[in-house]
Structure formats: structure tokens, C-alpha cells
């Protein structure tokens, strides 16, 4: 265990922390603004990676896959937030989306169980789906929905339901194989500094997280929008009282969180891989970041990410049998002593 070991481990920990910052900062902002524990955040990470793979297959450009995947997942995030988590005013659209889903499932079921009715034609498929959807819509619009906006547990469980749906959809679209995102050759090289080999990709990860972190910080501290977000984190009711449109802020932050998670998924895909189950592996780590740092605090997320990245790396290197325990036990202690996290505000 010489200095070189320590330097390499610290470097690896910091670069892993950089990745965790991307996932954790979004989760933290969403929690801060909406008080929602978003359990589909891991799915956003995974989908970022998968969509990037599709973009790379189609265009061959890794650089293009970064923004495209992140934007696509941000749109998914907006749809989920507008239609399901804050659906006031759009109930009919939510009911319609669900009804179409039910209709398609009915069609699929008929296709599997009674193919003679279907006859293999897509016209019949659409027809049966449409009839099913109409019936489902008629039924759903007759049920009075109890608003979900102020119900923490139902919101959390709803995001889990979506996490399962995303998981299955990813499996259907991209299959169950373990895949890798290959960044351009310039980034996969290693350079030698003072006798230590430094993989450039990890330097890129740190730089990327740093740039995004600074940009987020500037946006939060220096812009009007950022001030409104901070006000909403502190006291949403009060913010509404002084005329801040917290509804719009929540949509914006949810999209931003999904964007960041997907970006993390693309960047992490080169180094963790992209595979089914990655979503629920990243999720608890992102939570550790948020809890240690404090929910709703950007600086806290940065420190939490560094702490988790380092704890994870050193845990695995020094006492592998206890490595995850050494990661989550401090999380429990922090929660028990200061439930809002180290840098969170009550």
C-alpha cells in the first residue's frame, strides 16, 4: 500500500463520484422541489445508456448520442411528471394514455391466446386495441381519482410502477445482453503522469461533472429561475404565495433531473456497461448521495457524490466483504442523526 495505491484509488473514487453526482444531483433537486422520492430515477439512467446505444448504431456518432439520449429521457420525464405526478388539467390525456395501453395489451393477449380472431393482420390488431381502449377510457373517466399531489407514499409507489414498466420495455426493445458504449478512441487512451497511468475517460468524467456542476450552480444562484427554484425548495407554499409558478418549476426540475440521470447513463455506459438490472443497482447509490448530501441541496449532492464514490472505491479495495455495508451504514447514521442530510435544510 504505497502512495501510488492511494492516489489511484482516490482518482478512481473521485471519477466514480463524478458519475454519481450526475445521477444524484437530479434526484436531489426533484426531491427538494417536489418532495417526491423518484424511484424511476435508475430507469432514466438505464434508458439514457440504451438510447445512446441506439443513436450510436444509427449515426455512428458518440458525441451526438450524449445530448440526444439526455433530451429524449428528459421528454419521458416531462410526460411522466405532467401526466401522472401532477396531472391537474390533463386528466383526460392521462386516462387516454392508460386506456391506449390497456387496449394494446388486450390486443396482444388476443393475439397470443386466440390468433384465429386476429388472423395476423394489423388492421384487426388496431381495431381490437381501439375497442379495448375506448371501453377502458369510458370506465376510467367515470372513476373519481383521488389527487395524488400531496400523497408521498402513492407518488413513490407510482414511480416504482413506472420503474417496472421501463424495465420491461427496455428488455423488449434492447434485449437482455450486456452492452458497452464505446467512446471515441481519443478518450479511451491512457496518459502517463509521474509514473501513474491515468485513463483519459475518467478525466473526462470528472471534467464533465465539474462543468455541469458549475453550470447548475450558476443557474441556481445567479438566475431568476434559479432563485425561484431555491424558494420552492425552502417553502413551496410560501413560494406560491409570492407568485412563483411552482407547478412549472416542478416540471422543469423533473425534466432536468431526468436529463442529468440520462447523461450519467451515457457517460457511465462506457465504464459500467448497459444491462438489465443496472437501473435498480444505481438507484440506491443515487439515494446514498442524496441522503448524505442533503435533499434539495446541490453542493450537498456534490459532496455526497464524492463521499459515496470514495467510500465505494476504498470499501471495495480495502475490505471487500463489507464494502456495501461501509457505504450504507454511514447513510443510516446520518439519517438517524440529521434526517435532512448533512447540508439539507428543514
Amino acid at each position: 500500500m504505497n502512495t501510488q495505491f492511494w492516489i489511484v484509488q482516490i482518482f478512481n473514487g473521485v471519477s466514480y463520484g463524478a458519475l454519481l453526482f450526475l445521477v444524484g444531483s437530479g434526484l436531489s433537486l426533484i426531491f427538494g422541489v417536489m418532495r417526491i422520492v423518484n424511484l424511476s430515477h435508475g430507469a432514466y439512467f438505464l434508458w439514457g445508456g440504451y438510447i445512446a446505444l441506439s443513436v450510436i448504431w444509427a449515426t455512428g456518432s458518440w458525441a451526438l448520442s450524449l445530448p440526444l439520449a439526455a433530451l429524449a429521457v428528459a421528454l419521458i420525464g416531462i410526460a411522466m411528471e405532467r401526466l401522472f405526478l401532477r396531472s391537474a388539467g390533463l386528466e383526460w390525456l392521462r386516462n387516454a394514455v392508460i386506456a391506449v395501453g390497456i387496449g394494446v395489451l388486450i390486443s396482444l393477449a388476443v393475439n397470443t391466446r386466440a390468433p384465429q380472431i386476429m388472423g395476423g393482420g394489423w388492421v384487426q390488431f388496431v381495431l381490437i386495441a381501439a375497442i379495448g381502449a375506448l371501453a377502458a377510457y369510458a370506465l376510467l373517466s367515470r372513476i373519481a381519482v383521488v389527487p395524488i399531489d400531496n400523497d408521498v407514499l402513492r407518488q413513490v409507489l407510482l414511480t416504482v410502477g413506472f420503474a417496472f414498466l421501463f424495465q420491461q420495455a427496455a428488455l423488449d426493445i434492447w434485449g437482455g445482453n450486456n452492452m458497452d458504449i464505446n467512446p471515441p478512441a481519443e478518450l479511451t487512451r491512457s496518459i502517463q503522469i509521474a509514473g501513474i497511468y491515468v485513463p483519459l475517460y475518467r478525466v473526462f468524467m470528472i471534467a464533465m461533472a465539474f462543468v455541469i456542476g458549475v453550470a447548475l450552480w450558476l443557474a441556481m444562484e445567479k438566475t431568476r429561475m434559479g432563485a425561484a427554484v431555491r424558494a420552492t425548495v425552502d417553502d413551496a407554499q410560501m413560494a406560491r404565495g409570492v407568485g412563483i409558478d411552482t407547478n412549472r418549476i416542478s416540471m422543469f426540475i423533473f425534466a432536468l433531473g431526468a436529463f442529468l440521470a440520462a447523461l450519467g447513463g451515457v457517460i457511465g455506459g462506457a465504464f459500467l456497461g448497459v444491462y438489465p438490472g443496472l437501473d435498480f443497482e444505481m438507484l440506491p447509490l443515487a439515494f446514498a448521495v442524496v441522503i448524505i448530501g442533503g435533499m434539495g441541496s446541490l453542493g450537498g449532492a456534490a459532496i455526497g457524490a464524492l463521499a459515496v464514490g470514495l467510500a465505494d472505491n476504498f470499501g471495495k479495495a480495502l475490505f471487500p466483504e463489507l464494502s456495501y455495508f461501509t457505504l450504507y451504514a454511514p447513510m443510516v447514521l446520518i439519517l438517524a442523526i440529521k434526517p435532512v442530510g448533512l447540508f439539507g435544510r428543514e
Binding site: T112, R154, Q167, Q168, F280, Y324, V332, L335, A336
Partner: protein, 335 residues
């Protein structure tokens, strides 16, 4: 109270019907019912916390996991628990679940609402981390393969015999939990769920009440784990993973929190969908995810809430937001 007696009678009839029908069905159904019942004990323990005490635990798999790992480790490393000493393992499983809950409760009970959810998630992850990484004890990612089921006069390797045993544990658990939630202690728990502050003002030690409920739930979780290890024949980190806790929570919400029968119904439906539907169609998880989303959005009181929903409809009363009391309480707490 007459309707209460009627409900109890209905549950007893349903259980007897299950006892009669399942062994006559194929081995697939027997195994499915056994798994669902073992897991239903865990779901009921979640219901005790969520539905009756208003605590949404995201880490109930921890107690399930220690029960299962205890059984597997004792059976494979020490050959213990494969004869009459199975009953000692059952007792130890309950005790280790309760003991772990007693330890975890010290950290968790103080927290409320969403923070309770987070801290139980973190505690569950601690246990998962140990199961996943502590190779020498738990076999790491591969888990532990059980060598066989206990044989003490009764040969449990016979699936039907084992079904009867799990059925017995399941029925006794249901009965005990029912007595518990109907007892004065259970009533105080419901009081805490509705308005904790008021209970404190009335002089109840609400921390202690919640702590005891947490320990009892841990004990039942441990019991479910012991049975699960023998049902499955294989214990792996999958048993302790976050999604297992979430599954149990979703089952309770699906069936209807605050009704023990709802937890059982939820477990039955989820296992039925997962294991039966998955043999029919490859896209079964859409159905499961869809059922979850539909229940959460449209049926906050779960399936058990449907009768009252229908009744309200026919009486034509203005539909008062029929939110589940447990979730309502969570929402009304200042964060």
C-alpha cells in the same frame, strides 16, 4: 358487529376452500400457493406497519433476508434444522428478525413520513450489502443452494406436505396479527396512524408503540424468510434486494392497506400474475406494472376498497375523497 363476524366467516371459508382445492390441483399450483403464502406473511408484516401504524417501510426485505439466510446457513454449514430441530430454526428465525428490527428501530422510529421511508431503505441496503459481499458466509452473488427440506416424521420434501405446513404457519400468523390489530394495543397503533400528536397528548408513549410494532413486524418477516428459504430451495441477494421490499409494499397497497386480507390478496395476485402469466406471455410485466399504476391512481384504498366505492356510487352520496387513512396521514404531516 354482525358484519364483522360475517367477514371472519368468509375468510375462514376461503381458507378452508384453499386447503381443499390447492392439494388437488397440479404441482404448479401447489408450489405457487406455497410461495404466495410464505410471502404473504411478509406482506402482512408490512401491512401491520403501513396500514395500521402508518409507517411505510422500504426495508422489510431485511428481516425476510436474515430469516432466509439463517435457515440456509444453518442447514448447509451445520446440517442444522433438517430434522425436528427445524422448529428451533423457526424460533431462531423469528427471534433474529425481531432482534434486527429492534436494532434498526432505534435508528428508524424517530423519523416520520418520507424520512422513515428513506432510512428503512438505507437499513435494508445495509443487509443487502452484507448478503451480496460477505462471500464466506452468504456465498455472495451466487447465494446458497439448500440441500433439501426438513424431515421430522413429516417428510417436507413432498410439496403437498410442505404446502400444509406453510398453510398452517400462514393461518396462525393471520390469526395472531388479527388478534393483535383488534387488541387495545392495535387500536393505539391506529390512533398513532390517524394523529400521532393527539395520542402523545393523551399520554401514550407513541415511540414505544411504534417500536414494538416494528419489532413484531420484524419477527413475522423473519418467519416468512425461514419458510421462503425452504420453499425456494435457494437463497441469494435477490431475497434481500430493494425490489423485494418494494414488492411487499405494493402488494399491501394493491390489496388495500389496513386490511390484513388485502395484503394476502395482493400477494396472491402478484404471485399469480408473475408466475402464471409469465408462462403464457412474455410481456407479463407490463400487466403487473399496469396493475400497480392503475391501483395507485384509481384505487387508493386498494382492491378491498372496491365494495365501499361501489356502495358509495349506488347510494349516490357525494364521493368524499376516500384516500387511505395511512397515506392521508403521511401526506398531512408537515415535512
Amino acid at each position: 358487529m354482525a358484519s364483522q363476524k360475517l367477514k371472519i366467516l368468509a375468510v375462514i371459508v376461503a381458507l378452508l376452500a384453499l386447503l381443499y382445492i390447492v392439494p388437488q390441483s397440479g404441482s404448479f399450483v401447489v408450489l405457487l400457493a406455497t410461495r404466495a403464502m410464505a410471502f404473504a406473511i411478509l406482506a402482512m408484516s408490512v401491512d401491520l406497519l403501513l396500514g395500521f401504524t402508518g409507517l411505510s417501510s422500504m426495508g422489510q426485505a431485511a428481516y425476510f433476508g436474515v430469516g432466509a439466510y439463517l435457515t440456509a446457513v444453518l442447514a448447509t454449514k451445520l446440517q442444522f434444522g433438517l430434522g425436528w430441530d427445524f422448529w428451533i430454526v423457526v424460533l431462531l428465525g423469528i427471534l433474529i428478525g425481531a432482534a434486527l428490527a429492534a436494532l434498526f428501530g432505534l435508528f428508524a422510529i424517530r423519523a416520520t413520513g418520507v424520512y422513515f421511508l428513506m432510512i428503512t431503505l438505507a437499513l435494508g441496503q445495509c443487509v443487502w450489502g452484507l448478503a451480496y459481499r460477505w462471500n464466506s458466509l452468504t456465498g455472495g452473488d451466487n447465494g446458497i443452494n439448500m440441500t433439501g427440506r426438513p424431515n421430522f416424521g413429516l417428510d417436507l420434501s413432498n410439496d403437498v406436505t410442505f404446502f400444509y405446513l406453510v398453510f398452517a404457519f400462514f393461518s396462525v400468523s393471520l390469526f395472531m396479527l388479527y388478534v393483535l390489530v383488534r387488541s387495545p394495543f392495535g387500536r393505539s397503533l391506529e390512533g398513532i396512524r390517524e394523529r400521532e400528536l393527539r395520542m402523545q397528548i393523551l399520554g401514550y408513549n407513541t415511540w414505544l408503540h411504534k417500536y414494538i410494532a416494528f419489532i413484531i413486524a420484524g419477527g413475522f418477516g423473519g418467519l416468512a424468510g425461514v419458510l421462503w428459504a425452504h420453499t425456494n430451495g435457494h437463497v441469494s441477494p435477490e431475497t434481500v434486494v430493494l425490489t423485494t421490499s418494494v414488492d411487499a409494499l405494493l402488494m399491501v397497497v394493491l390489496g388495500g392497506a389496513g386490511t390484513l386480507v388485502g395484503a394476502i390478496l395482493g400477494a396472491g395476485i402478484v404471485f399469480g400474475l408473475r408466475e402464471y402469466l409469465s408462462t403464457l406471455v412474455p410481456w407479463w410485466q407490463y400487466v403487473l406494472g399496469g396493475v400497480y399504476v392503475l391501483t395507485i391512481l384509481y384505487l387508493p384504498m386498494g382492491l378491498m376498497g372496491i365494495p365501499s366505492l361501489v356502495r358509495q356510487r349506488f347510494k349516490g352520496r357525494p364521493k368524499e375523497a376516500g384516500a387511505n387513512m395511512a397515506t392521508k396521514e403521511l401526506a398531512s404531516k408537515p415535512s
